[in-house]
Amino acid sequence: MPQSLDDLKRRVRELRNEFEEAMGGASDAGSLQAVRDRFLGRKAGGLTALLKSLQGLATDARREAGQELNALKTELESQMQRAHERFEESRRARALQRERVDVTLPGRSPAAGRRHPLAQVRMRLEDIFVGMGYEVFDGPEVDDDYHCFEALNMPPDHPARDMQDTFYLKGKRDLLLRTHTSTGQIRYMLANPHPPLVRIICPGKCYRRDEPDLTHSPMFHQIEALVVGPGITLGDLKGTIETFLHALFGPQQPVRFRSSFFPYTEPSVEVDLGCIACGGSGCRVCKGTGWLEIMGSGMVHPAVFEAVNRRLGRVVYDPDEVTGFAFGLGIERVAILLHDVGDIRLFYESDLRFLEQFPG
């Protein structure tokens, strides 16, 4: 028991030294609790004992000593609190450390599918034309001679029919698998016998009796476009085709128009794209010409309008009042050029090693 204030102050100094020594040895929450019990414990704590011993001092000395001891208590508590926080922090850090993973292990990917490259190209083409104000129109794959040939200015025995060897349906000689999406021209105009403002594309499957090889397939995809209205010109044909080819292949790509022949257009125009493989200097892809045939086009032949009018029973598409242009291009052709596909058959063989090369 301290007998005097001085005595007490000495004890406080000793206690502080003992405390600091004890704290120095505390390394975790457990040993910190032992320090707490030793100095601040209700029963055996060193500081608690000193506080109890104050009763033996005179009133003045007791007040002063009380202040001294309280200050000591606050200091010890705050030191222990800081230590406690330190130990907690390192405990949490160790716990988190135990939860660490090897971030270089393979991730868990959701299964990812792909749209078919031809669908991707088709959507790209559709989006370009929709942006230019076109509608997307669709017709049947099994069609008849009238829509596929006759109305397109190819009467029976027309030599141009040789250009498209046709699959016919058994027992129904009038029915065939469409050889081109130009059938959409006729079907759309017949289905829309009102003031002729036509601006459509018709994407779809086509069929020709070609043995499959690197560049041929008995089934393939085309996009046909038809624009009809007053004042539509060959200049419009050129501008439209240039715009869309530049959107597809880049604005630097040269485009050339040359006279050709299709029974349902007059004038008929074949469109060539500067070779994207060699840039026009001539290579294997363009057979040394510097140009790639990309699509057929032309001004709608008046005979086509006349055929539609005949079937409608009245003159809706008057060739003296309206003109139009049409063009058709192969979706495979575009996909082959855009993606450097060496064999057209890859599109139909469902090989995921091929399909998965096309993201999206």
Binding site: L105, R108, S109, P110, A111, A112, G113, R114, R115, H116, L118, E126, V130, M132, G133, Y134, E141, V142, D157, P159, D162, M163, L169, K170, G171, L175, L197, R199, Y207, R209, E211, P218, M219, G231, T233, L234, G235, D236, K238, G239, T240, E242, T243, R256, F257, R258, S259, S260, F261, E266, P267, K287, P302, T323, Y348, E349, S350, D351, L352, R353
Partner: protein, 679 residues
């Protein structure tokens, strides 16, 4: 068609390099596929479009060159001195079939048959024609030069010195120059002497009257044959010759006498023969002068650019058109006899456009008058495909043709092709799954893939009244394990419920909900215990199921596969419901689980509907959340956990309310023979 530059230069000056010539011809519509140096000469390979038979000869190309470069065209030399008795004394000709032959011209020549001179042989060989003899070579030479095919008969072998154009008679036969003995019929035209046919009209000569070294005189036939007649005959005989190629596309009806004169000139020039005086000719009608009226204003209307009058007059004149003086209403344009492809005003416009130059027409964009856009169904098709891609499936595209035996997996009649490429592709597909997607799966498994998910959106062809019905469908096939393989755990094999879930997921994207799944075993290629018809009310949408083990074996699918096929045409065309937002619930939902032991044969749908009936209006949802078969659950029974959710829009539910509802459910289930577990 191959053209030697030196030959071309006989008729026109070519003021540019061959490469430039090729490029200019190509732009004007005569596509030059190749330019090959041939010693000091150059060979051009032209791809002449079917309408331009007038350019399937050297002189025709020369005419185009003369217009291209504004240089004069020099006509071929056709002068000759005839001698001997009149040709008509030795030969008479007749047209017995005007629908086959409107003009039959002929000449008679005294000849000395031998080899042709080198310059003729070289030219023929350069363009791919075999040299035979001086007489035959000259006829071929003139065909290549002027476009008029002719045929030389050994006059001594023409009975009675008579040639007539007529249709072949049924049962008639002819041995042609290629050695084939051919049966003819009424659709084949012949050149005959009385009952004896000597040549196939416009296609090929006959062996019996062939020119040989013993030939002393020839009858030279140069006719104009009707295109359709030659086309049908050649097709029915399965023949295609240089002559038929030209006649069936429409030769020049005025060319026969010119060709005979040119041949006379050349035979004389090479010392191979002399013409007897006079042309022997039959003709059903005179020369038909064709003309068309062209409104100069149409040039601007069609092309979008003006072409100066002097320019279009120069072009037409150079191409052989006769252009009258005329005003703006219309100019009479006479069409040259060799331009059978030109019939109307627009054809004349094209002639002007291609020689004026398409590159001179400025590019414009037509003003948009109507808004474009995808239709609802087109947007929904994209959305459907996107949801399948998101579910891990990749899209495939297959041919529409299958074999008869493959198509027979689906019962019922099917649409077949008249002229398939092979028996394997003889029938139009009636399913996307069989064989298409199963075959695609097999091919990927063969390549070493294990986990495969594929879909196709495409049409199948079902028999219809007048024509096959084209039905747009979605087909899917899944095989292997769910999810990608991962080091963290074992993967789960895919099963029926993956196909069902993907169908529900994809159709939900279209707003199609409330699907009914009815156990079904009608499709023989599906596992009878693991197949369902997918319906919405009365509407059957399609099916889903595991592939029948035997079918799986036939397709080498060792671990089987699950498939689904849904008709989507009508679903895509449904207008999507406008979204109207429900107020968010302000009061919490209460979840309760009920576990029961039930007959294994009873369906989840049945138990759920009983729960719904019994629970009352507070029940928001019920679903099977766990299912267990096996010990200690007795045989024939199944342990199910049902997750129930209760909620009220306007207040918080009390424990009593919920418990009462759950009690009603349990009572109902007990009354139906279920044992409630955990009681």
């Amino acid at each position: 068609m191959k053209v030697l530059l030196s030959w071309l230069r006989e008729f026109v000056e070519v003021p540019v390099e061959p490469a430039r010539l090729a490029a200019d011809l190509t732009l004007a519509g005569l596509a030059v596929d190749a330019v090959e140096p041939r010693g000091s000469d150059t060979l051009l390979d032209l791809d002449i479009t079917t309408n331009r038979v007038d350019c399937m000869n050297v002189y025709g190309v020369a005419r185009e060159v003369s217009v291209l470069y504004r240089v004069p065209l020099r006509p071929p030399e056709t002068s000759f001195a005839a001698s001997g008795p009149a040709a008509s004394g030795a030969l008479t000709v007749a047209i017995d079939a005007p629908d086959l032959c409107p003009r039959f011209s002929a000449g008679v020549f005294d000849v000395e048959v031998g080899p042709a001179p080198a310059w003729i042989r070289d030219r023929l060989e350069a363009v791919g024609v075999r040299s035979i003899s001086n007489v035959v070579d000259v006829t071929n030479y003139v065909m290549l030069e002027l476009g008029q095919p002719t045929h030389a008969f050994d006059l001594a072998l023409v009975p009675g010195g008579r040639l007539a154009a007529r249709w072949a008679r049924d049962g008639e036969r002819l041995k042609t120059l290629d050695g084939e003995d051919r049966a003819l019929g009424g659709t084949v035209g012949v050149v005959a002497s009385g009952d004896t046919s000597l040549a196939l009209a416009g296609i090929m000569g006959g062996a019996a009257s062939e020119v040989s070294e013993a030939t002393r005189a020839i009858a030279l036939e140069a006719a104009y044959w009707k295109p359709l007649a030659i086309r049908r005959a050649a097709r029915s005989l399965g023949m295609h010759t240089e002559a038929s190629h030209r006649f069936e596309r429409g030769a020049d009806p005025e060319a026969p006498p010119i060709a005979i004169a040119r041949i006379a000139h050349l035979l004389k020039a090479i010392g191979a023969g002399t013409a007897r005086p006079g042309l022997v000719e039959a003709r059903t009608s005179g020369a038909e002068g064709r003309s068309v009226s062209m409104r100069p204003g149409r040039l601007r209307v069609v092309l979008g650019a003006d072409v100066p009058e002097a320019e279009w007059r120069r072009i037409l004149g150079g191409l052989g058109f006769g252009v009258a003086a005329g005003g703006h209403e219309g100019v009479a344009v006479e069409i040259p006899s060799w331009r059978g492809d030109v019939n109307r005003e627009i054809d004349v416009v094209e002639e002007i456009a291609r020689h004026h130059g398409l590159d001179k027409i400025p590019s414009t964009i037509p003003a948009a008058r109507i808004p474009g856009g995808l239709k609802t169904w087109q947007r929904r098709e994209r959305a459907l495909a996107a949801s399948l891609v998101g579910a891990g499936l990749s899209e495939v595209v297959h041919y529409a043709f299958v074999s008869e035996s493959e198509a027979s997996a689906i019962p019922g009649p099917r649409a077949a092709l008249e002229n398939p490429l092979s028996e394997e592709q003889a029938v139009l597909r009636n399913s996307l799954v069989v064989p298409g997607l199963l075959d695609a799966l097999r091919r990927n498994l063969r390549k070493g893939r294990r986990d495969v998910g594929l879909f196709e959106i495409g049409r199948v062809f079902l028999p219809g009244q007048a024509r096959p019905v084209e039905e747009l469908r979605l087909g899917i096939v899944l095989a292997g394990a769910a999810g990608s393989p991962h080091w963290s755990g074992k993967s789960r094999p895919l099963d029926f419920f993956d196909a069902k879930g993907i169908v529900e997921h994809a159709l939900r994207r279209l707003g199609v909900v409330g699907l009914e799944w009815r156990a079904a075993a009608q499709d023989a290629f599906l596992h009878p215990g693991r197949a369902a018809t997918v319906a919405r009310g009365q509407q059957i949408l399609g099916y889903a199921g595991s592939v029948h083990p035997e079918v799986a074996a036939a397709f080498e699918l060792r671990d089987g596969a699950v498939v689904a096929e849904i008709g989507i045409e009508a679903l895509l065309r449904e207008e999507p419901r406008a979204v109207r937002v429900h107020p968010l619930p302000r009061f919490p939902a209460v979840s309760r689980d009920v576990s029961v032991v039930w007959d294994a044969a009873a369906t989840a749908e049945r138990i759920e509907s009983q729960v719904r009936d019994a629970a009352g209006p507070l029940l928001r949802s019920v679903a099977v959340t766990d299912r267990y078969e096996g010990p200690p659950v007795p045989d024939g029974k199944v342990s199910l956990t049902l997750g129930l959710a209760f909620q009220h829009d306007e207040r918080t539910l009390t424990g009593n309310e919920v418990q009462e509802a759950v009690d009603r459910v349990m009572e109902k289930l007990r009354s139906m023979g279920a044992e409630i577990r955990g009681e």
